[in-house]
Symmetry: C2
Subunit: 247 residues, 2 copies
DNA sequence: CTCGATCCTTGACCCAGATCAACTGGACCG
DNA sequence: CGGTCCAGTTGATCTGGGTCAAGGATCGAG
C-alpha cells in the first residue's frame, strides 16, 4: 500500500507542493532536517485515512489527490467540513484525538511526519510555525466563507459556489482556456457534493442539470465540467463577480 | 468614547483575560513589553468596530462584552461567522483588509495593539505566536462544528446548539447551580440569533417558544434563560449528550 | 400619559428542497 | 451476452421553514 519513498519526491526541492505547503518558507538547511523525518504514505480512493476520535500520531501534507474532512452525527447525518487539496495540511500539533474523519476521495499521496519530531521541529523553526499559522488563518477564512454558503445560499447558489472553489483551486495547477473559460474534473461524487453543501444528492443532481440546461456549465460524462464563462458562474454563485478576479 | 486607560486594567497582571487571551503564555518581562504598546478602546452596543473591506491598522482582544463577526451579500442576506467573547482575538497579523464586519452587540472594551508593533513583537516572542496559533486552531474547530449546525441541523436543534454554546462559554465565568442547571443572559437579539443560525427571526422566536412550552428552557423576560437540565438541552441539540461533560 | 421606536410573538399561507420511488447507463464479472 | 452493481437522473409528493402581515410588550422622550 505504501509507496516506496524513492518513487515520489527524492528531494523536497523537487516536490510539487514545495512552495505552498507548511514547508514553503523553509531554507535549504531546514528543508534538509525535514527531509530526514518525513515519510510518504499513499491511500486508495475511498480509504479512510483517519477515523474521528482515533489517536493521531502523525501530521502531514497532501502531495497529490483529494481528501475530505467530515463530521457525522449519531443518526448518520454527515457534513463535510473541509476539502483537502494538494499542499493542505492535516492534523493538529498539540492535540492527540482527531476531531473528524479524513477520507481519500481519489488516490492520494501524503507527506507525513510523526507528531513529536514535527512538534519539536516546529518549536525550533519559526518558519514552520509561522507558515502553519498563516495556513490556519486561511483555512479559518475559508471555513467562514463556507458558513455563508451553508447558512444563506440557495441550492443553485451552493452548487455554483462549489464549482467556483474547486475550479479555482484546480486552475492554479492547470491554466485554462482564454477569457474566463474553465475546465476541470470533479473529484467528488454527487453524494460527497451534497455532504459538502448541506443538501441531498437528488437536489445536487437536479441543480447540476438545471445549470447545464441554462448553459452555465457543460458536462461531459458525469464528472468533466466545462465552464464557458466564469464570470457568469460567479454571478450565479451570488459572489460579487466584479472583474477584480482576472487581474 | 474611549475609556481612559487607567480605568480598565492598570496592569496586565490584574487583567480578567490574562490567562486566556493571546498574552496567556507570556512571561512577566514579555507582558511588560506588551503593556507598553497596548491601549484600550471601548465601544457602545450597536457600534460597528470594523467595517468589512476597511483597512485594519490594529489587532486586539475582547476584554469585556460581546461582539459579532458578520458577512453580508450584496442583496442583504447576512451570516454571522463568529461570536467574540472576552479573551477572543480580533484581526489578522499579516493582512490589511478586514474580511468581515465586527459589531459590538453589548458595550465592549478591547485591548488593542497597532498592527506593526504587534507583528514585530510576535516575531520576537514565540509565546505570542504559539498562543495565537493555538487560538486560531480552536476557532477553526469551532467554525467547523458550526458548519455541521448550519448544514445539517433542524431549526430546533440549531437553537439548542446556540444556547449550549453561549451557556457553556458563559458558564466558565459564572458557575451555575447544581447538577446540570444553567442560567445566563442572551447577549443577542432574536435577529442576531437568526443571523448566526441561518434562520429567520420568526423561526427563532417560534422555536424559542416551542422549547419553552416543552420545558427544555424557561424564559424570564426575553433574554434571561434558565436551563433546568443541560443534558436534555444537549440531547435536543443533537449532540451526543453522554455524561462525559460534567466530568 | 401618550407617542414612537425597538424588539418580540403569533398566525396564515407558500415554496424550495427533502423524501420516496422508479428508471438509465456504464463498468465489471462469470 | 445476461446479470448485478454502482453513480446518477428524473418524477411525484410532502413538509419545515420562509414570507407576509398583524399585533403586543417595554422603554425613553416629551
Amino acid at each position: 500500500m505504501n509507496v516506496p519513498r524513492h518513487k515520489i519526491a527524492p528531494h523536497c526541492a523537487e516536490c510539487p507542493i514545495r512552495h505552498k505547503a507548511v514547508c514553503a518558507r523553509c531554507e535549504t538547511d531546514e528543508l534538509a532536517r525535514l527531509e530526514e523525518i518525513k515519510y510518504y504514505r499513499s491511500f486508495e480512493a475511498g480509504q479512510t485515512i483517519i477515523w474521528s476520535g482515533d489517536k493521531m500520531d502523525f501530521v502531514g501534507s497532501v502531495v497529490s489527490g483529494v481528501a475530505t474532512l467530515t463530521q457525522t452525527m449519531e443518526d448518520g447525518r454527515t457534513q463535510m467540513v473541509g476539502l483537502l487539496l494538494p499542499s493542505d495540511f492535516v492534523g493538529r500539533p498539540g492535540r492527540d484525538g482527531a476531531p473528524y474523519d479524513v477520507v481519500a476521495t481519489t488516490d492520494i499521496v501524503m507527506c507525513c511526519f510523526r507528531k513529536s519530531p514535527f512538534e519539536k521541529m516546529m518549536n525550533e523553526t519559526p518558519h514552520i510555525a509561522h507558515r502553519l499559522l498563516e495556513m490556519t488563518l486561511d483555512e479559518l477564512d475559508a471555513a467562514r466563507e463556507w458558513m455563508l454558503v451553508l447558512g444563506r445560499k440557495t441550492a443553485r447558489e451552493k452548487i455554483a459556489s462549489l464549482l467556483c472553489i474547486i475550479g479555482r483551486r484546480d486552475a492554479s495547477l492547470t491554466p485554462d482556456g482564454p477569457n474566463g473559460t474553465m475546465v476541470f474534473d470533479l473529484p467528488l461524487t454527487r453524494e460527497a457534493m451534497a455532504d459538502y453543501l448541506g443538501l441531498t444528492l437528488e437536489t445536487v443532481s437536479r441543480q447540476m442539470s438545471a445549470l447545464r440546461k441554462d448553459g452555465v456549465i457543460q458536462l461531459e460524462g458525469k464528472r468533466h465540467v466545462i465552464v464557458p464563462d466564469l464570470g457568469q458562474l460567479m454571478e450565479v454563485a451570488g459572489d460579487d463577480s466584479d472583474g477584480g478576479f482576472y487581474g
